[in-house]
């Protein structure tokens, strides 16, 4: 350290009693525990400065350091596989598509901010995730949003609807302006989300394997004194303490103060930054040098700089005076504010002028957005310190690896005890009314009301859109025939009954969804949304969910590689999703990326032609626990949650992929929420909604199963429409995959949906009346 510089005044910790330290910390707005603060003072050998404490507070938050979750994730999750190019070490994971192209994927949550300021919170969620993907050198090609809202008909209905509407607005206003298509997502309503919505976001990018850019200081950066360059929006105080705020439970009385922790998004500036970044990537390729590139997200400037420096094994010296900023903020604010639309570059000095020209002149950032630009803010060195100066003082001087290393906690787990039972109910007399009610329920109704707000068409790459099938599909590279499929899933009602099966079924269903259009599951990401990990029951739910999810990935295998798991290359843990009223239902939200070699072979879910035969694969089991039927008709959860029969599940997924590849299927739809009955009805109701059907459930006969169980059990499976003339080959293929396909009916040109069993007509529903119920349900729940 330069001896002419003085160190700024420290915050007293050493020698003080615990209550006094605690009050010093809280009084300064620092969330860390007293023992954490003491351990920092011990390593530094002195009292830390205010800026140092803020930096540690951010870096050691649950959000940045995974201090409660890391050990569990490492213990269970499979992160390696033959197609993995980069596992979960940086902002996004990367998986190979072919010899040349890779898909980049990231998956995050923005739950707390969205509950407080739904529009800004959800928009920032997209803004952050697309930066994570872009900073790997990738072109961002898709987003998707899994959303969980409270009960729109419950005691907090008006707040729930306000949050839901604001979140959807935030998503479309940001995503559409940015110009990245929204491939879908899902929405589930239930009362456990009344005070804690979940807003997860997934983003996909495309990059050539030899053009991946890493988020770390490249080799030689310290020896050659590489520049540290900050680009984008001028730093302000927005999002201050965002990661700390994300690492605590929400209390209503804190809402006012928490608003300041929500960041302000700007898709317009991001749109221009992305184009400038493309020029940066080109410059680097042409110069043949390696740079480090990272987005500024949680933990702000400190997190991006110190993580990149530490990952390269170097030290760095930063000058906050050289940073472009919106006003003269104190150093601790400049260090950890989560101002959006910023990136950090670590690059050789000889590129400096060219880089500054790209941002400040070619793309004219200062004139596009007031105060935005690229500034050189520091230098790499071969030391091991993270040193930050501000107005002639050293405000932070800490061992960089200690700052980024974080801490680990071994949390206690204890199984939640609950008494679960199957309800005793009468079989319905009038199935027409049951079906109409279920079609209209907010969790089954068509998602059209929401996805018409999303620009699914921008970039001109959409092949299968939201509402057309179980997964979305894009053709991201012109001239290439491959497509990327994306589906998300997690059923909170299953998680409530069994956090383990909640995790396992979420992964299995996401894979099934991708297979239903003909794509092969290639990788999984997880965003694990749970309550307070300091409570043993919540931590148990988390561990159970991770175990279940891992089990599905390990036992369903990467197609073509026996016994190799479907790898999990990216993810996020979101704890503290609880309020004094309780925690959210365990929600391990899964996204699955599938690859199809030829987009021309992909199929959608709507019925194609009258006369085509329908087949069921996946036998029905007595698994109505957590079902739409129990909930909508009887208001109960039940106990018999659907489980994953791993061998059967794998056989079904592989068989459907192969059948589509061979051109044997005209349509396919997986069985999930609402059971066999809803799956068949949705195939009929999906646009153009031209055909009815006649189901004969004798073909799906399970010995003595009740009709309502047969119709509504959510055991996994598929309904398949065979291409005419290919039925025999289809049966042969399915049987060769150890399946017992059941012919269950045919498509008709009559606009009626008919279900029969043992010669008796159970339901005979007018298609247009059913479609009205199905298309109204979501708008009614959200307006």
């Amino acid at each position: 350290m330069d001896n002419n510089l003085k160190r700024c005044t420290p915050l007293k910790i050493i020698g003080l009693a615990d209550p006094k330290v605690a009050s010093n910390l809280r009084g300064s707005g620092i969330g860390m525990s007293v023992s954490e603060a003491r351990s920092i003072a011990e390593v530094l050998g002195r009292d830390p400065t205010l800026t140092e404490l803020f930096c540690y507070d951010a870096m050691w938050s649950e959000h940045c350091s995974y201090k409660s979750s890391r050990a569990t994730l490492k213990e269970f999750l499979p992160t390696e596989g033959p197609n993995v190019v980069m596992g979960p070490v940086e902002d996004s994971g990367i998986v190979a598509i072919d010899d040349q192209w890779c898909v980049v994927i990231s998956h995050e949550s923005h739950n707390h901010p969205s509950q407080i300021l739904p529009n800004e919170g959800a928009a920032t969620g997209i803004g952050g995730i697309v930066r994570d993907v872009n900073c790997m050198g990738a072109t961002v090609v898709a987003t998707a949003d899994p959303l969980r809202f409270g009960d729109p008909y419950g005691p907090k209905a008006s707040k729930v609807r306000w949050v839901a509407e604001g979140v959807v607005d935030g998503i479309w206003q940001y995503g559409n302006a940015l110009g990245v298509p929204n491939l879908g997502g899902d929405i589930v309503f239930n009362e456990s989300f009344d005070d804690n919505c979940l807003v997860n976001v997934v983003s996909l990018g495309i990059v050539r394997r030899d053009q991946i850019i890493r988020s770390r200081a490249p080799p030689g950066a310290g020896e050659k004194g590489y520049d540290v360059i900050l680009i984008g929006k001028p730093t302000d105080s927005s999002g201050l303490g965002g990661v700390t705020f994300a690492s605590e439970a929400l209390r209503e009385e804190d809402e006012e103060t928490n608003r300041g922790a929500v960041q302000i998004p700007d898709p317009f500036l991001k749109n221009v930054l992305f184009k400038a970044n493309d020029d940066l990537f080109r410059l680097v390729r042409e110069a043949g040098v390696e740079i480090g590139f990272k987005d500024l997200g949680g933990g702000g400037f400190t997190c991006a700089t110190s993580e990149m420096g530490a990952a390269g094994g170097f030290g760095m010296e930063i000058s906050l005076d050289d940073m472009h900023k919106a006003a003269d903020f104190p150093p601790e604010v400049l260090s950890i504010a989560e101002t959006q639309e910023r990136f950090l570059i670590i690059s050789p000095p000889e590129l400096r002028d060219n880089i500054l020209k790209i941002y400040n002149e070619d793309w004219d950032l200062p004139n596009v957005y007031e105060g935005a630009r690229a500034s050189v803010v520091g230098k790499m060195n071969t030391g091991d310190r993270f040193e930050v100066r501000h107005k002639g003082e050293v405000v932070c001087d800490v061992p960089i690896q200690h700052l980024t290393g974080g801490i680990r906690y071994q949390r206690e787990e204890r199984a939640r005890t609950q008494s679960l039972a199957e309800p005793v109910i009468e079989e319905p007399q009038d199935y027409n009314q049951v079906l109409l009610k279920i079609l209209r329920s907010p969790n089954i109704a068509s998602r059209e009301h929401v996805y018409r707000y999303y620009d699914t068409e921008v970039m001109g790459s959409a092949v299968i859109r939201p509402g057309e099938a179980d997964a979305g599909l894009i053709a991201p590279v012109r001239g290439e025939k491959f497509g990327l499929a994306l589906a998300v899933d997690s059923n909170p009602f299953y998680g409530r009954i069994s956090p383990y099966w909640g995790g396992a079924t979420a992964a299995a269903e996401a894979m099934r969804n991708v297979a239903a259009i003909g794509a092969t599951p290639s990788t999984i990401t997880d965003c694990l949304n749970y309550g307070n990990p300091e409570k043993p029951e919540a931590f148990w739910e988390f561990r159970e969910g991770v175990k279940g999810l891992a089990e599905s990935c390990k036992k369903l295998w990467l197609k073509g590689y026996e016994n190799q798991p479907v790898p999990i290359v990216s993810g996020n843990v979101s704890f503290y999703n609880e309020s004094p009223q309780g925690s959210v239902d365990p929600s391990p939200i899964i996204a699955c990326v599938g690859i199809i070699k030829d987009i021309g072979k992909a199929i959608s879910q709507e019925f194609k032609a009258a006369g085509d035969k329908l087949f069921l694969i996946g036998p029905r089991f007595d698994e109505l626990g957590g079902s739409e039927y129990y909930r909508t008709m009887f208001g109960v959860t039940g106990a018999n949650v659907p489980i994953v029969r791993f061998d059967l599940e794998r056989d079904m997924i592989y068989a459907v992929i192969d059948a589509i590849d061979e051109g044997l299927l005209a349509a396919a739809h997986d069985i999930s929420n609402g059971g066999l009955a809803c799956t068949a009805m949705e195939m009929s109701l999906t646009r153009p909604a031209k055909f009815g059907f006649e189901l004969d459930l004798d073909g799906a006969e399970e010995s003595g199963m009740r009709t309502d169980t047969l119709l509504f059990s959510e055991s996994s499976g598929f309904v398949l429409e065979a291409r005419p003339g290919r039925e025999a080959r289809l049966m042969e293929l399915l049987r060769s995959c150890h399946l017992e396909p059941m012919e269950i009916g045919k498509i008709t040109s009559k606009r009626r949906m008919v279900m029969r069993r043992a010669g008796e007509t159970l339901a005979d529903l007018d298609l247009d009346e059913a479609r009205m119920a199905w298309t109204c349900g979501l708008a009614e729940a959200m307006r």
Binding site: A177, N271, Y451, R452, V458, G460, A469
Partner: protein, 264 residues
């Protein structure tokens, strides 16, 4: 034959528009807003693609219409060169007075208002595949030069402000009389039904696209570059089953090419 695809801060359809330009055999490049406007005269035609130029500040298209490059485009339009504005590009052309072509702002693309049976059922942003009917005679307009009158086109829209309104007396009459109405929203059989969902955004007389009196400047809300290949079509369109074939929107790009060839 060289085409400039204009790019403003916030534009987001320039790449796929350039792909379409090149796919019909024209040469083209993306032209950034802060390049010297004088360079524009060396191009033979222009696309102003969709997006949110300048964040839709003031009104959609309002800021971009004041850029020096728009002044240059006005001169090129006066020379008879074709200019096609798509979505936000249409909004910019209206704000610049290039459409309907009086040199003044004579209409607006206002917020979408979806009306059905006398009720407002929705407002604002909407993305879907819709149907267009070509209203002008062929050879009337640069961007529909090769399209027969009455021809139908399946194409997507994605906008929040596409509701064409004008308070200028006689303007609607003039647009109709002089065949400046190029496309209207219609159902799959070609019937114009002036309410949602067929009139998808509440636009006056279901108008989706207009040209200037000379026919060289076209503004359209739907996106032909997103309907350029059959594989881009929605699942329910039978033509999607032949993914390698051209899509309906390709005719707009072919039309511009032909228009330039004929004008040369």
């Amino acid at each position: 034959m060289k085409i400039a695809v204009m790019q403003f801060p916030g534009t987001n359809c320039e790449h796929e528009t350039l792909v379409a330009v090149k796919a019909v055999g024209m040469d083209g490049e993306i032209f950034r807003w802060n390049r010297s406007a004088g360079e524009l005269s060396s191009f033979d035609g222009y696309f102003i693609p969709g997006g949110f130029s300048y964040q839709d500040r003031v009104r959609a298209g309002a800021i971009a219409s004041k850029e020096p490059v728009l002044e240059a485009l006005r001169e090129e339009a006066a020379r008879g060169k074709p200019i096609i504005g798509i979505c936000n590009g249409f909004q910019i052309l209206v704000e610049a007075g290039l459409l309907p072509g009086t040199g003044k702002i004579d209409m607006a693309l206002a917020q979408n208002v979806m009306v059905s049976k006398g009720q407002i059922v929705r407002r604002g942003y909407y993305c879907d595949w819709i149907n267009l009917r070509h209203e002008a005679p062929s050879r009337r307009c640069s961007g529909s030069f090769l399209i027969e009158k009455g021809a139908l086109m399946r194409i997507p829209i994605a906008h929040g402000e596409g509701n064409l309104v004008t308070t200028t007396p006689g303007m609607m009459q003039k647009l109709n009389d002089e065949a400046q109405v190029v496309f209207r929203y219609c159902d799959k059989n070609g019937r114009v039904i002036n309410e949602f969902p067929v009139n998808v955004n509440g636009s006056t007389e279901s108008i989706a696209a207009i040209c200037n009196p000379e026919g060289n400047v076209l503004g359209m809300m739907p996106h032909p570059e997103r309907s350029f290949f059959a594989w881009q079509l929605p699942a329910f369109d039978p033509k999607k089953q032949r993914p390698d074939e051209p899509g309906p929107g390709r005719r707009v790009f072919e039309s511009m090419k032909h228009y330039i060839e004929v004008s040369a």
